[in-house]
Amino acid sequence: MNAPTESGVLLEHLFRRQAGRIVGRLARLLGPARLDLAEEAAQEAMLKALQAWPHQGVPDNAEAWLFRVAHNAAIDAIRRDRVLGEKKDAIVAELTHSSTIDPADPDFEEQLRDDELRMIFMCCHPEIPRDSRIALSLKAVGGFGVREIARAFLADDATIAQRLVRAKRQILNRHLTLDMPRGPELRCRLDAVMEVIYFMFNEGYAAHEGEDLIRQDLCLEALRLGRLIASGSIATPRAHALVALMALQTARLPARVDEAGDLILLDDQDRSRWDQQLIALGFCHFDRSMAGDEVTEYHAQAAIAATHARAPNLQSVDWPVVLELYDQLLEITGSPIVALNRAVAIGKVRGPAEALAIVDKLAVDPKLRQYYLFLAVRGHLLLQLNRRSEAAVCFREALEGRCSEP
């Protein structure tokens, strides 16, 4: 009987990360039509780990162990395959060769990143239905489980499972490949990838149930994917802007929830709890986003977050600059949420009366009118104007208002 070793501590999210890398690697070798097989092989490796590690201890190189066992599972499945015929030997040889890879070895990091990059580009292919893209990205690249994706999107498991089935059917029917797009197509596909990443990020960031950590995981995964596309040769200023805005906003996450798990608004946050490493990362990408003259939604969002990050406390925030950026952002997006945020900035620069007038104009949008943050902002402005009873009505309505963005 082997005594379990002492080194039983696993890196946080190690399995999730490895699952994504294994699937990326195997799908590359097996072809995207066998994505299911790649996922099953990864699952098999995790299951074997569950059976062995509690008794024999965690192996010294857990990543390489999982990689090898998953490759072996894939080799077994390919050997059993009756349709493949003569291609079988070549695939087995490639798998065998790849199974000796040590994913922790920096020499192979680049290869694995490339596999991941190809996978995310395929998952966000325009031929795949929009809502399936994000589910597939989280599953195949992020290593999230169906239940976790469902929880993050407040959907039920069956809905997410169906989105995944639909995505995989499109991969088969449209013969999607893991080849990187080139030339003018690359630009277009990169935009599609960024759209998915940005959506993933916002979904996590707009968390209303503060204690649900899965939402924070979504932000971190979006940031990781953003960094993946911003680190390669395909990076554009826009990609850097996206990473900058995600890093700068994620930096605020530790200060955004109080001990009871309730949201703390930006005004009331303890800015010393913002993550300085992420802020540094954000500024680094923000600088690089300035190359070229394109100003996108990501640029404006990043610039707003950067203005906040530069201010050590609420009093020193440069509100006129924030307002100018919101003007820009509103022009680009036309979004009612942006208009609402702009009204907050107007309140800081020109006073609550002017802001309230703008907010009341926005109320013509029936959906926005019921949105809890709209009501909270309006209540806050009324309170500043000493219209207490009206403010109280607003806050009460905010508690019953819609939590999802209009």
């Binding site: 005594a3 379990p4 399995f15 999730r16 299951l47 780990a49 999230f144 489980g145």
Partner: protein, 112 residues
């Protein structure tokens, strides 16, 4: 101090839909349990039906094991030290196997 063996039964297919993150959590919990001060060892069994040998007439004959038809299989065991059955059971109540839907059979070892 008497020793008890905890026989862990489960339905292997119940692990098929567990996410990588949950799998890691499960490993950490099972590992933590095998490091408890009263645990003397643990082992897993291969995930196959195994073989059963019994006499047929005058000849011993091997057939596929008892688990080829059933869903719950004996997947592994832990050995623990406890004063008596009551304590052995009490110590085992927080074994993660139970929370993951498995069954534990507690039996005393003799002569060890």
């Amino acid at each position: 101090m008497p020793q008890y063996i905890l026989l862990l039964y489960d339905d292997p297919s119940s692990w098929r839909n567990i996410s990588p993150e949950e799998m890691q959590k499960a490993i950490e919990k099972y590992t933590a349990w095998s490091k408890k001060p009263f645990t003397r060892g643990s082992q897993r069994l291969a995930e196959d039906p195994g073989r059963v040998i019994r006499m047929q007439g005058n000849q011993p004959r091997a057939t596929d094991g008892p688990y080829s038809e059933t869903k719950e299989v004996l997947g592994g065991y832990y050995v623990i030290e406890a004063a008596n059955y009551d304590e052995a059971v009490k110590l085992s109540l927080d074994h993660p196997h139970l929370a993951y839907g498995g069954t534990i059979e507690v039996r005393q070892f003799f002569g060890m």
